[in-house]
Amino acid sequence: MRAPRTPNHRARPDRWHVAWKGLGISFFDEMTGQGGDVRSPYRDYSDWFGREDAARIQRKAQQAEGFFRTTGITFNVYGEDEADERLIPFDVVPRIISASEWRRLSRGIEQRVRALNAFLHDIYHRQEILRAGRVPVDLISRNEAFLPMMMGMDPPGGVYTHISGIDIVRTGADEYYVLEDNARTPSGVSYMLENRETMLQMFPELFAKISVREVSDYPLNLLKSLAACAPPACGGTPTVAVLTPGIHNSAYFEHSFLADQMGAELVEGHDLRVVDGRVAMRTTQGYTPIDVLYRRVDDDFLDPLNFRPDSMLGVPGIWDVYRAGGITIANAPGTGIADDKALYSYMPDIIEFYTGEKALLPNVPTWRCSEPEHLREVLDRLPELVVKEVHGSGGYGMLVGPAASKKEIAAFRAKLEANPRNYIAQPTLSLSTVPIFTKAGLTPRHVDLRPFVLMSPQGIRITPGGLTRVAMSKGSLVVNSSQGGGTKDTWVLED
C-alpha cells in the first residue's frame, strides 16, 4: 500500500498501527500502563481507593448526579425537545497527570496557541504563509469561516484567540497527539470547574492527602485576560460582558456560569444597541457602554447589518464599532478558520513557519480527501479509518470505520465520493483509557483532554489540566457529550 504524500511527512498515516479492540490490540491505560502496576501519578489515589468502601463511593456518585441536576448543569441536545435537558454523566475517578507530564504538554500547547494567533494575524494581513506556498490558498479562500472584512484589521492587543481549547489524546506512556484546535468558541470549561467543585465536596479528604493544582481561578484569569484586551475607546476599568444566544442554547449553563463567576453581565443581542459609537447594554437606568464582549455566538450572527440579515442574536452595527476601536470582540471574528480540519493537517508547518521550531506536540496524521491520491487510499481503507467533516464538530457526521456496519460504511462511501473536499480521514487512534467507577469496580474507558488556554498581551495562561471527556460505553472511542460521553475531574499534581 502506497503512503499518501502529505506535507506532514514526520507522521505519515502508514506508520500508524491501527488499533481496535476487536483486532486484539491493547490500549495504554493511564492508571496501569499496559495492565501492569499502578503508574506513579495514580499511586496515592489507588491506595486511598483500595481502602475505601465501594458502597460509599457508589453513594457519593449518586449524590453527585443529584448535585448536577439541582445546580442545573445540564445541556440541551439539538433537535430534541427543548424541555429535554440532559446531564452529562460524571465519573468520580479522577484523571491524573503528573507534574512533568503537564510541563511537557503545556509547553506544546503554548507553542501551538502562539502559532495559531500569529497565523491568524498573518492571514488577515500580509498572508506571508500563503505567498511562501506552505499552506494552499484555497484552504483560506474556500474556508467558510474566513472573513474578508477582517483583512487589515488590528484587534485590540493583537489578540485573536483570547480563549482556545486544544484537544489532546494520548496513545502511550510518552505519546500525545493534538486531535483538534478549537479557536472559535471552545466550550466545556464550566464542567472542568464544577467537576472539581463536586469532587471537593464529595471527597475532601483526598485533596488533603494529595496535592492537586487549583483550577478555580480560571474565571478571574479570564476576566483579567479579557480586560487586558480593552479597546482604545475604553476610558477606565473595562466593562466586560458575556454574549449568549439565550437560555435555549445548549451551552447556556456555561455562559451564565462564567458571567456569574466573573461578575460580568450576561447579555443577549436584544439587550444591546449602538449608542454614540459604542456598543451599549440596556440597563434599568439607560444604556451603558461595554468595552469587551466575550461572545458565545458565531461570527455569522454577530451583526445582522454586516453578516446574516436574518439573525436575531447579534447587534446591528457592532461591526462598525469594532473596526473603529470601540469594542473588543473575543474571540476575534474570523478566528474560526483555525478550527477547519483540513487546515489542521497543516499545523506542523504553521507552527514551524511562525515559531521557527518543530511542533512539540505532534498532529494526528491526516488524509485530505480533497487530494485524489489521499481520497483513493481513504476509500480503500474506509473500514479502519475515522472520517470527519472538515467543518464538523461535536462528533456529528463522522464515521468511525471499525465501529460501523457494512451498510453504514457503504452509505458514507457515497457521501465521501460525492463531496470529497468536505472530509478528512485519520487512523483510528488507540486512545488511552482511564478507569471509571462502575458497580463491578474499576473499568477502563477511553478519554481525551481539552485544556483551556487564555491569551492576552500579558501572555498565555493555561489552566492546569482541563476537561477530560470519557466515552462511557465499553470500547467506544466517541467522547462527545452529544453522543453520550461523560466527564471526569482532571488532576495535575504539584511537583
Binding site: 445546580t71 442545573g72 451564565s256 453581565e265 447579555v267 439587550d271 440597563t283 434599568t284 437606568q285
Partner: protein, 314 residues
Amino acid sequence: MLGKTAGSLYWMARYLERSENNARLIDAGFRIALTRSSTARSEWRSVLVTAGQDSAFRQAHGEDYTSQRVVDFLLRDPANPSSILSVVKRARDNARTARTYLTREVWEAVNTSWMTLGALLKRQVREDDLPDVLAAIRQQSAQVVGAFSGTMLRNDGYNFARLGTFLERADNTARILDVKYYLLLPSVAHIGSSIDNVQWETILRSVSAHRAYHWLYGAEISALKIAEFLILYKQMPRSLAFCCDQMNDNLGLLQRSYNEETEAVQMGTAICRDRLSRPIQSIFDGGLHEFITDFLRANAALARQIERDYRFVE
C-alpha cells in the same frame, strides 16, 4: 443591572406567586365541589374565571366543568399555557435568564421546584392524591420564598422581584373579589344563612385567611368585614392595602438607589392614596364592583409603567 434581568426577576416572582395562588384556588374549589356537588360546576367555572383561564378552558374542553377536567387543566394540561406546570416552567426560564443575579440557594430552590412538580404532574392527578400534590406545590413555593428572603442581597434586583410578587398578589386578590363580589353585596337576601357561610369561607380560603379572619373578627362572618379584611386590612399579607404598601416600599427603595423619580413611583403612591385610604363603607357606597374593576385597571397600568420605566424591554 440589565433591564432584561430586572424583567426576568420580576416575572420569575410573578409566575411563582401565580402558581401558589392557583394552587390555593384549586384547593378552595375542590373543597366546595366536595361538599356541595350541586353547585360544583359553577364553582369550577368561577375558579377558572378568577384564574383568567376560562376562555382557554372552553376552547379546549367546551362546557365540561367537571372536577377532574378543570383540576387537570389548571394543574398540568399541555393545552393550557397558564397551568401550574407551565407557569413554574416559565418561572424557571426567567430564573435561568437572571441566573447571574440569583444566589445559588434561590436558583436551586426554583430549579428543584420545577423538577419536583414536573415529576408530580407527569400524569393526571387522582382525586385522592390532590391534597398531597397541592401541599407539595405550596411547600416548594415556601422553599423558594425562604431562600429568597434568607440569601438575596437587598439591592435593585431584590426590589424588582418583590414588585412582581406584590403586583401579582394584588391582582389575584382583586380577581377573587371581582368574581365573588356579588356574595359580598349587602343587598343579597340570605345574609348569615349557612349557604353563604360556605361561600364566604371559600373566599377566605382562597387567600389562606380563614383562620386569620376568625382570630381577628371572631365567629361573625359578614360581607362588610370580609371585604374590609381583603381590601383594607394592612396586617393581612394578601390584602390589597398590604400589597400596595409593599410595592410602594420597593418603588421607594428603587427611587433612592437610582436617584430618579419615575412615573411608576407616582402611580404607586396614587393607588394607595386615592383608592385604599378610606373606610370600607365608602367603598361600598361607591359600588364594590366599580371599585374592584378600577383597582384591577390601575394595578395593570402600574405593571406596564414599571416595565417601561425600568426598561425591561426595548
